[in-house]
Point group: C2
Chain length 254, copies 2
């Protein structure tokens, strides 16, 4: 069944419904959640096989998690989360954009849908061409992200990847420069020249920040200096500050 009622209007639950949607191949899956307690049977095996074939992540979670998404208990231990927008393949994005001005933003596990929506809004206003999200951690595109983005989601390529490390390596090979927003850095975000390169700006998760493996791949690490000891900017606000510094620099160069 397809639940259209609540905020997660893009949810499919029940074994048969999920199998049908996977076979039809017309929906954009974020991930498939399977209850820990589910006994494997023919249908679940079929779902796993179809998901693997299509590169869709499936995760085993507590039954309570499924109940919170579909409180009427008709999920039969299985729920598919569907994106309201189509994702773009990274390879296609790179092919289409490597000769153009096409900066991207990478979200390393940002967990709050409102933050992701606000960041996408700022990205579009600041001329960012793509946003990259990891399949397994943090938020993918759901109806809250779509709503919070105020329509911006339709003006940017959204890329979902099973490996941010691989994605960043591919971007670097095609001359994107990687900037990590990291408050441990000595360098200020306005000490970089954003105008003469394609950049990929990595923003970390709300509490954990950016993973070490991604920090290692970065060409620049930048911080936003604070005027007080209270050093805790909301991630969407931090992204806006850095992105509009790139806009300021471009406008001044015109």
């Amino acid at each position: 069944m397809i639940n259209q009622k609540n905020d997660e209007k893009t949810v499919i639950f029940g074994k048969n419904a999920v199998i049908e949607a996977l076979e039809a191949g017309e929906r954009e899956f974020n991930k498939i959640l399977i209850a820990n307690s589910s006994r494997s049977d023919e249908k679940i095996e079929r779902i796993k096989k179809l998901a693997q074939k299509q590169g869709i992540v499936f995760q085993f979670v507590a039954k309570e998690k499924l109940n919170s998404i579909e409180p009427e208990g008709r999920h039969q231990g299985i729920i598919a989360l569907i994106s309201p927008v189509k994702y773009t393949e990274l390879e296609d994005f790179i092919l289409e954009n490597r000769e153009k001005y096409a900066p991207v933003v990478i979200l390393d596990g940002v967990e709050d849908s409102h933050n992701v929506g606000a960041i996408i809004r700022s990205c579009v206003c600041a001329g960012i061409k793509g946003i990259i999200l990891p399949s397994r951690r943090g938020v993918l595109i759901n109806s809250t992200v779509e709503k919070t983005s105020a329509g911006a989601i339709n003006h940017i390529s959204v890329i979902k990847t099973n490996s941010l490390v691989n994605a960043i390596q591919k971007l670097k090979e095609q001359n994107w420069w990687v900037i990590a927003s990291d408050h441990h850095s000595d360098k200020n975000y306005y000490d970089i020249d954003y105008t003469d390169m394609n950049f990929a700006l990595i923003m970390g998760a709300e509490h954990a920040g950016i993973s070490k493996s991604l920090l290692k791949l970065s060409d620049f690490r930048v911080k936003i200096p604070m005027l007080t000891k209270f050093n805790s900017l909301n991630v969407s606000n931090a992204a806006a500050v850095i992105l509009f510094e790139s806009v300021r620099q471009r406008e001044l160069k015109k």
Copy 2:
């Protein structure tokens, strides 16, 4: 009764409870909501009188509004919204800060608690000393604002005023310069020198923007230039962009 359960933990409902709180004078009232349908009686008259005396706004609203705050229907047509923090009087703020570097932010009816919380967070990080909110429109300090501010609310003076026009006039008399964030402006936000003045930055409501009466009082109107036609930045992101431009300028002057 004092409702501690839900998000609006700072709610007092029922005629007697509101009268007691007003007489005790120890709570910080945001406003008092009275159901349109309430028949006036001795207690309601007493509440109005006490509220007027203390300069507390009371508003007549549909009963459904009260039911949404206190769903168990024990409100007797009256609910007081309480702030989790103490407000500062504008006059006291000015007296204490007019000789110092003490920029402020004025929110002209911002309606989303998450936006207000995020703005307060950015304010504190950017060295802003006060935030001014109108009593009658938009959000005052509630538990969602407090939570979203991530503790920042305790590091800034919060001022609530019945008239933003009066508040701005008082600030101008003491040499605060008033900057309005207005996307109709020709001037870019980075074309102002923020370092040699105390400024008061006005941010408008999510949809309506800044009221004409406040625009008229502004010394500068600034816009954030966009790189695309999609011209719709979230208000907390816009505030962060302008505030951190003031930080950038101060840091470069050091």
